[in-house]
């Protein structure tokens, strides 16, 4: 997931490195670091804004490590789902237990079905649905679509996925 974090550093040398170390220790991927040296806080500290990607179970460890090194964590904002995908399903979507299809995606922990539009023209005719799936990353979105395809094979549904866009 992507985390955006506001920190406050003491105005002494070596503080920025100290602030970045826990992120790198837990294999986080730094996206941006903005060091507001000119904007002191009323307490005389220097505000720093960090954005990084990290596995969600490491976030608490990073926060504790920062606090242990005397860095104030002012705010933490997580954005869990970065990727949005859409697929179309065709077949007997409802009669093959639509709840089960959605649950299997939701239970992955890395993707969720966030929208479903269903068209059922007539009894005994195949239904069509558009499904929106959010996932934590591009790789996990592909994994969720692969999972959906394997569920669809068992339930004889056709999955229409988007082309790769370069």
């Amino acid at each position: 997931m992507r985390v955006s974090m506001d920190l406050e550093l003491k105005d002494i040398p070596g503080q920025l490195v100290l602030a970045l170390k826990p992120v790198s220790e837990f294999k986080g991927n730094l996206i941006s670091v903005v060091h507001h040296h000119e904007k002191r806080t009323p307490r005389g500290k220097i505000p720093v804004h960090l954005v990084f990607e990290i596995k969600s179970d490491h976030l608490d460890n990073i926060i504790s490590l920062l606090e242990e090194s005397g860095i104030s964590v002012v705010s933490v904002d997580e954005k869990r789902y970065l990727e949005h995908g859409a697929v179309i399903l065709i077949g007997h979507i409802v009669h093959t237990d639509i709840q089960d299809t959605i649950d299997k995606i939701d239970n992955t922990g890395y993707a969720e079905v966030v929208d479903l539009n269903l068209a059922m023209p007539r009894i005994n005719r195949p239904s069509s649905a558009s499904l929106k799936i959010d996932a934590v990353s591009k790789e996990y979105l592909s994994a969720a679509i692969e999972l959906l395809k394997s569920i669809a094979r068992d339930k004889d549904l056709l999955v229409i996925e988007p082309i790769r866009v370069n």
Binding site: A86, V87, I88, I90, G91, N117, A119, P121, R125, P126, S127, S128, A129, S130, L158, I160, E161, P162, I163, R164, V165, N166
Partner: protein, 331 residues
Amino acid sequence: MKTIRASIIGFGAVGRGVAQVLLDKNDYLRSIGIDMKVIAIADSRTAVIDPHGVDLACVLSGKKETGTVGSKTISGTEIIRTMDHELVIETTPTNIETGGVGLVNMLAAFESGRDVVTSNKGPLALKYGEVIAAAKRSGSHCRFEATVGGAMPVINLACDVLAGNRVISMEGIFNGTCNYILSRMMEEQAPYEQMLAEAQELGIAEKDPSYDVEGIDTASKLVIVANSIFGMNASYKDVTVTGITRITPEALSLANADGFAIKLIGEVNDGKINVAPKLVPLSHPLSVGGTLNVFSVQTDLAGPITITGRGAGSIETASAILSDIISIYKN
């Protein structure tokens, strides 16, 4: 001036288109130093032969009136084996199960040391390696631009025009019949069966449409692309294929509401060959309508290159054949 003696084997829509184009472009061909002389034409039943050059206009009108090419009963394969000429223009119908007479003709041509320009997918989709090896053994040219994407330059674009580039992946719409049916289903909110019937009425779909709508035609073309552009050693069985018969008008509307069209996309990517209906963003270059074909390659230097054009038609396919002929003989 170089005289090239050619036979046209197969005189359906494509063969007739070739004859017409050779007639129309005779002056141009002579201006670049090529004197094309068609010494024999054969269809599945009859043939016409003249070592001094067949009168193309006469054969074309004869075929129109009587349905036959000439009075001789010699087969195309016999012509290839027995008559002295440089080039075999192989335009017999595709047989995707065995390669059919097309395969026999191509191998016979190479055995006799002749060059081949063809629009026949079957032999190349089934036995690419064998056909190319036979051509190499005899030092013959074998060109087949017309097998993929009709008028669109696909193989020659990737192999000649973009020379030096590494082609990373490619995708496209290679079947005009499927594209027509899907485009019309969306426009009319009509079921598949109804738009298939319309396509059949207009002559866009065959009476037995399975070759097109099940994705078999697209898969055959992809095999040729995979082998010739990507240097793979693939055959038809290596392609995963899903056709368009299950697509519903509701699915097309739902996709459209999200900003997508549904298209039968063929792709070669990462060593995998795949044919399946896919969601294509409406603003994407691959989102072309009607019977159009479109083809996009990702290359390491030039980036993405996309071209669109008519994927079928008598004169359009003959255009690809003519360009192959010229590229063999102009130097």
